[in-house]
Amino acid sequence: MSRNNGIDRRQMLKLAGFSAAGLGLTAAGCGSGGSGSGGPVTIRHSWWGADDRAKKIQQCVALFEKKHPKIKVKTDFQQYPDFWKKFNTQAAGGNPPDVIQNAVTFLRKYEAKNVLLDLNPQVEKGNLSLDGFRAGLEKFADIDGKLLGVPVGSNSMALVIDQAVYEKAGITPETGWTWDQWYAGMEKIRDGQKVAGDVGPHGVMYLYDLILRQNGKAFFTEDGMGFGEAELLPYWTEALARVKSGIYADPKKVEQIKPASALARGIASGEFTWDNFSIRYSAEGKSRYGLAPIPSSDGRRTGQYLGSLMLSGSARTKHPAEVATFIGFMTHEPEVARIMGYDRGVPATTAQFEAYRPTDAPSKAIEAYETEIADAGVLEPITPHPAGADVIEAAFLRIAGDLSLGKASPKDSVKQFFSEAKTALASN
């Protein structure tokens, strides 16, 4: 029997290793927090993103520490999925970072678990200003009267395109174009240039949300799913046909170049994603990348809303005033905007928006795009997602990918998705 012990011990060690890794990280943060009285106070800030974002944020932090010598900021970053795994473990262990980058998908989830700091008292104390935000963005993370985050930038869903391919095909997307016109363009690209028209949009939750909104529904309601099998089955059936006919990129190729982008690698000529991704693709790819409007069903309603990255505080922070000061600095300080550019979207405050005038083509395109949709009046209010939305978003992406690879029929894929969505809503 001693042999069996050997096995489960190794098993458990593996698990213990995961938790120990979490413990080690939180422990590392423990010792550094100052007492608050007199000496310098240390707060921890973590975010998700690539290396270039990290470099920019660290510059901002250096500037912040110079202006606020009594506050030190320790930084940490990961890629998006890893960030949330780590944060979840840290938060459960009672020692999350003091300030995190956040998104709308996670607000209700962590609010229900009492993880996020209500910043309203800090606003009242004057540690954080909500003045000067564009387009009512300061209300973005107002959940049931609690201020759970402050936006650092706003962005919108767009069709990021390979301009060279589109020009060669003679396609000029304009505001008000329809899904039929878009599809005709995809066929033209595939037939004329032997390249897929799109990376494959049927796993992108934020795009499907827009399509549903164009038809009077939405992906989420406040506490559950806003659509059913009747909507998803035709959508995924059509998508599978488009994968097979080469309108959407070969999923095997897309899979293998991850984490690189299929658009930047020239496997496809378009991708529905957040408009600030065009900056990343311009850095990674060889072509020119521009932005096209979201097509609609009726030529008018695109269902779009402003998305936003925001900064949130931890409910367990020992230094709420310093947290508020730091968030205020990151959202209002003009110099921060000059360092960050449009990396996290178009700056949320007017002061920062005016401090940074884009000079490079991709950033200029983003500015033009954001101005255009604001002028077109297509923007709608956003619904904060229910707890479990992050798990559902990941399942939507994964199951759509499985469908493309032929693992399951559209019918089984749809069934699997709703079964996982139900579990996620119940257990989060």
């Binding site: 001693s2 042999r3 069996n4 012990n5 050997g6 096995i7 489960d8 011990r9 190794r10 098993q11 458990m12 060690l13 593996k14 698990l15 213990a16 995961f18 938790s19 999925p81 890893d82 949330w84 795994k85 979840n88 473990t89 938060a91 459960a92 678990k113 009492n114 993880v115 999923p251 095997k252 190729k253 897309v254 899979e255 293998q256 170049i257 991850k258 984490p259 798990v391 990941a394 994964r398 990918g401 499985d402 690879l405 032929g406 693992k407 699997q416 579990t423 996620a424 257990s427 989060n428």
Partner: protein
């Protein structure tokens, strides 16, 4: 085999070996009261073991007991665990992804283990003979075992088997381009199998030790009787090293069930494409740390323990049929 745990109390009282150990060399005076000295030794023994015991209790036994409790609850790390009886287990059997993970893992164990052991034995037989540069080759073949489990090796593997990478281009030379194994749900599992087979060094070394112990006279006698190479292998080598073979089968099987890192990294953290590398521990990790279903994940962990225990028991039972222990060795 693995280390045998001997607690002081486990030694049979009055056995010769025990007496010998208590009265070590230089301990000339006969023991006045064996009980008393035994107790003192025990105390010192426990004292020396205390770091290990503390570690075992707090880092292994404690979490294990807790995870056993969790496996009957719904627990998302934040809210208190909620008792749900056996529902995690019934959910598991109804979950197509869980069944997929069992299938992928079984497939991996059933293919990977025999191929790896066959490679290890074949190379061990080549290296058992005395020839020039023998120690260099032994070291060279052993080296992948040292680095094979590392993250970097898995990253290299992903690069090797991708579209238009080394393996794909080599295939194209022979006119059988595959478009890369990493994106192909049918092929990616073989990339993982290749990664584990590549690490045949550890079982190889054990086989080598076993081969060295086969008496030369047996081969000589068989040769005189006119037995050919294969015959000698099947009738002398294999039976003579069967205890070593048993040990390797056991160890590698258990090891294969625990595959996580290579599957996770080769698939870029997705355990895909299309769940093709969704090995058991990958799904466990996904449910626990991504979907925050710690109760479900704990239940999965315990079921894996039971399954590996059963497989081990079956292997032990099967010993009588095929493992041959020399009379003198008993």
């Amino acid at each position: 085999m693995t280390h045998i745990q001997t607690s002081p109390g486990a030694l049979a009282p009055g056995s010769d070996r025990c007496a010998e150990r208590r009265n070590g060399p230089g301990d000339s005076a006969p023991p006045v009261g064996p009980k008393r000295s035994g107790r003192g030794d025990n105390l010192a023994g426990y004292l020396f073991m205390s770091p290990w015991i503390a570690g075992f209790l707090f880092l292994i036994a404690g979490p294990m007991v807790f995870s056993l409790y969790l496996s009957f609850t719904e627990y998302n790390l934040f809210d208190a665990p909620r008792w749900i009886g056996l529902r995690n287990f019934t959910d598991m059997f109804a979950d197509p992804r869980w069944r997929q993970s069992v299938e992928v893992t079984s497939w991996y164990v059933l293919i990977g283990t025999p191929v790896k052991l066959a490679a290890a034995l074949a190379v061990a037989m080549l290296l058992a003979q005395k020839r020039w540069g023998q120690s260099f080759y032994r070291a060279a073949f052993y080296a992948p075992s040292l680095i094979g489990a590392s993250v970097s090796a898995a990253i290299v593997w992903r690069a090797l088997f991708s579209d238009d990478a080394v393996v794909d281009r080599t295939q194209k030379l022979f006119g059988v381009g595959s478009g890369g194994w990493i994106g192909d749900p049918e092929m990616i599992i073989y990339a993982l199998v290749a990664l584990t087979v590549w690490q045949f060094g550890a079982p190889m070394v054990i086989f080598l030790a076993g081969l060295k112990q086969v008496p030369r006279e047996l081969y000589e006698a068989a040769e005189v009787d006119g037995a050919g190479r294969w015959r000698r292998f099947f009738h002398i080598t294999l039976p003579m090293i069967s205890p070593v073979l048993f040990f390797n089968v056991l160890l590698e099987t258990i090891h294969s069930f625990q595959i996580f890192g290579s599957a996770y990294i080769v698939s870029n953290g997705s355990c895909g494409p299309a769940d093709a590398t969704l090995v058991y521990t990958c799904y466990l990790y996904d449910q626990g740390f991504v979907n925050s279903r710690m109760g479900f994940a704990s239940a999965m962990g315990w079921l894996l323990l039971v399954a590996v225990g059963l497989v081990t028991a079956v292997l032990f039972r099967s010993q009588k049929r095929w493992v041959h222990y020399e009379e003198g060795g008993r």
